[in-house]
């Protein structure tokens, strides 16, 4: 029996070999190519890029294949790679008003400058399984129109004209923007650090929390001011050069929630905002993120913190799925040294329990804590 634990090395080797076999599946079926995943499972790729915090479709696709389609595992693979990359600098803030928009909708205005643009959305599809897809049928080319060259103002800018909505936040001049991948988190957090954490947070966790605010656990009275999806230009300031260097374009999803605010002693009544910005096309995530962002600003607005979604330490400490999955799954690791200590204690206490008269059940229930 004792020698059974000696097989660790061989067992791991064999487990990896079996895993590789199962990942590949039936060899008669052609192996997936990365470009197939990039092109045809693009929303899965986007989620891996967003929560993996690395904008690289090819690596995300590789991670998806390697993880057998387990997206949290894929996110983990990408994170573990990106963390080893050197940091060259920080881009300038992206101007989402200059976005090359593919989708843009507002729920607060029927029409607005730049118009409403549905884009590639599932929203009005009927969720009927399409057998033709299984047969790989031909697909029509999409309708196109020339892009507008002018900026498409954000809804927040339209409302700001009347002073009805809080302005964009300003970073204090003496402070650099936070970087949660380079500095340890400290509570309470500033909003920039919190938004970074939300942006890479687990979609399911943020979705559930956002939903909870709608059901009354920290209600925020939200309207979708605007959602837009499209490509934005990234620019980097290089000390030796007098101008910002364009680095390329990334696709992002931006959501601005507009929330009622009755005003406080410090601020007049005005609309406040919850903000979501996510790599790729990730509308559900961006919306959930903006609900959570607004809920987490409770302290800033002097609102009572009564619900989980408003509790910064609770939300930010538990939103990262790479951390969550690691710690939950670590329970699989051997714990027999500690379990032995507990066994010993419980045996001793049971022996004593038999000797001492009438110890209430309620008093002993925490014995094995």
């Amino acid at each position: 029996m004792y020698v059974a634990v000696k097989g660790g090395e061989a067992a791991i080797r064999n487990a990896h070999r079996l895993l590789a076999d199962r990942r590949r599946g039936n060899r008669d079926v052609p192996a997936l190519r990365l470009d197939q995943i990039v092109e045809q499972l693009s929303l899965g790729v986007d989620r891996v890029m967003a929560e993996g915090s690395l904008y690289d479709r090819e690596l995300a696709a590789l991670a998806i294949v390697q993880s057998r389609g387990d997206l949290i595992e894929a996110i983990f693979l990408v994170r573990a790679y990106r963390t080893t990359l050197p940091r060259f600098g920080y881009t300038r803030p992206v101007d989402t008003a200059a976005m090359l928009v593919e989708r843009r909708i507002s729920a607060t205005y029927k029409d607005l400058p730049g118009g409403q643009l549905l884009g590639p959305t599932f929203d009005y599809t009927h969720r009927l399984l399409d057998p033709e897809l299984a047969a790989g049928g031909a697909v029509e080319t999409p309708a196109q129109r020339p892009a507008d060259a002018e900026r498409m103002s954000r809804v927040s800018e339209i409302l700001a004209g009347e002073g009805l909505i809080e302005p964009d936040g300003e970073l204090p001049v003496d402070r650099d923007v936070a970087d949660i991948t380079r500095e340890p988190l400290e509570f309470p957090m500033e909003r920039d650090a919190r938004l970074q954490a939300l942006a890479r947070g687990d979609e399911g966790f943020l979705l559930a929390l956002g939903y909870s605010t709608q059901r009354g656990y920290g209600r925020t009275h939200p309207f979708v001011g605007e959602i837009r999806i499209g490509e934005v230009e990234l620019e980097l300031d290089v000390p030796e050069l007098p101008f910002a260097v364009p680095l390329g374009r990334v696709r992002v999803t931006e959501c601005q929630m507009v929330n009622q605010f009755k005003g406080s002693a410090k601020a007049p009544p005005q609309f406040t905002r919850g903000y979501g910005l996510v790599f790729g096309q990730a509308e559900r995530k961006a919306m959930a993120m903006s609900l959570c962002d607004r809920a987490l600003r409770a302290r800033e607005f002097g609102e009572d913190v009564v619900a989980p979604a408003q509790d910064e330490e609770f939300v930010v400490s538990h939103l990262d799925n790479v951390q969550s999955t690691g710690f939950v799954e670590h329970l699989k690791l051997p714990h027999y040294v500690d379990f032995q200590a507990e066994l010993d204690l419980v045996r001793r206490m049971r022996a004593e329990h038999g000797r001492t008269p009438a110890v209430g059940a309620a008093e002993t229930k925490e014995a094995a804590e």
Binding site: M1, Y2, V5, K6, G8, E9, A11, I12, E58, L59, L62, F76, R79, A80, Y81, R82, T83, T84, L85, P86, R87, T181, R182, E183, P184, L185, E186, F187, P188, E313, S317, V322, Q323, T325, G326, F327, V328, E329, H330, L333, P334, H335, Y336, V337, D338, Q340, A341, E342, L343, D344, L345, R348, M349, E352, E363, T364, E366, A367, A368, E369
Partner: protein, 297 residues
């Protein structure tokens, strides 16, 4: 690795980039300067899951050099799967020599045990820590517990231990048993059984603790006073086993209970596999370095 993969992804010596290693070494130095204090650090994602030793791996990766000899144990054993996996990781990304012999290692990364063989000067023991905050189960908020440490407000912990005694007649904490470091910080010794707590006291080795998911590093410099919390009338005690190791006959060591059949048959064997093997090689008569092995024959 094919040419194609190395083209799109490549890694530094000991996995972490040098900037990150410097950052971690700064946190370690701060931890050494303030024994028992939890230093926040910008923990990185590692290629093994959080909760599986990423804190320890980051510390080891930051201090390891090409001449180091590494030993990795989990539950006291060199051959448990996670220990094998971490050792293989460093063998691969750092190309360092590895060993199972406690005395030959310069760095020992451990989960849940301190080796039975006494550590010496120049050795570094790196602990993997899941929850670095000893007050966490009494107060879940980091903002609160940091304040409690700053004010040296440890009454809550003493009340907890007292309530244990009032209820059960014992302190019902058998592992991760809180210690006080140099009379100042209450520290979690990581979930080692309390049996190992006395080995931390005045150890000639440098002891480093890494909690990756919780982003904390703390340290015990060599020859630091480490005292397990207790009461005058309920002094701290370690676990005692009634029988010696069934394989090597060692007493006063930590034993694992191994179930032999489904009729209640069991045996107790050393949790420290290297120690046990050494003793058996030497005919099972090596003295326990911590206490005279009076009853073993």
């Amino acid at each position: 690795m094919s040419a194609r993969t190395s083209e799109i992804a490549s890694y530094n010596f000991a996995y972490l980039d040098e900037q990150t290693k410097r950052m971690i070494r700064r946190a370690i130095l701060k931890g050494i300067a303030i024994p028992g204090y939890q230093v926040p650090f910008a923990s990185r994602e590692m290629p093994m899951p959080y909760g599986w030793g990423t804190g320890g791996v980051q510390i080891t990766a930051s201090i390891i050099g090409r001449d180091d000899v590494l030993k990795v144990i989990d539950q006291g054993a060199d051959d448990t799967t996670n220990a094998v996996s971490i050792r293989a990781f460093f063998a691969r990304v750092a190309g360092v020599a590895v060993t199972t012999e406690t005395a030959k290692a310069t760095i020992i990364q451990t989960r849940h045990r301190i080796p039975e063989h006494p550590l010496g000067e120049g050795q570094v023991l790196v602990y993997q820590v899941p929850i670095p905050e000893p007050l966490r189960y009494l107060e879940p908020r980091e903002t609160e517990t940091r304040k409690m440490h700053a004010l040296e407000e440890y009454g809550l912990m003493h009340v907890k231990l007292y309530e244990d005694i009032a209820r059960h007649g014992h302190i019902a904490t058998t592992y991760a048993y809180p210690v006080k470091v140099e009379g100042r910080y209450v520290m979690d010794p990581s979930p080692t059984p309390k049996f190992d707590n006395p080995k931390m006291h005045m150890s000639p080795a440098l002891q480093l603790f890494g909690a990756g998911r919780e982003k904390r590093i703390y340290a015990l410099p060599p020859y630091t006073r480490v005292v397990s919390l207790d009461f005058e009338d309920h002094p701290f005690e370690v676990q005692r086993f009634e029988q010696p190791c069934a394989l090597c006959g060692a007493r006063n060591v930590y034993l694992d209970e191994v179930i032999l059949d489904d009729r209640g048959g069991r045996m107790f064997v050393c949790s420290d596999t290297d120690y046990c093997e050494k003793r058996r090689d030497e005919g099972g008569v090596a003295a326990n370095p911590f206490e005279p092995d009076e009853a073993a024959t």
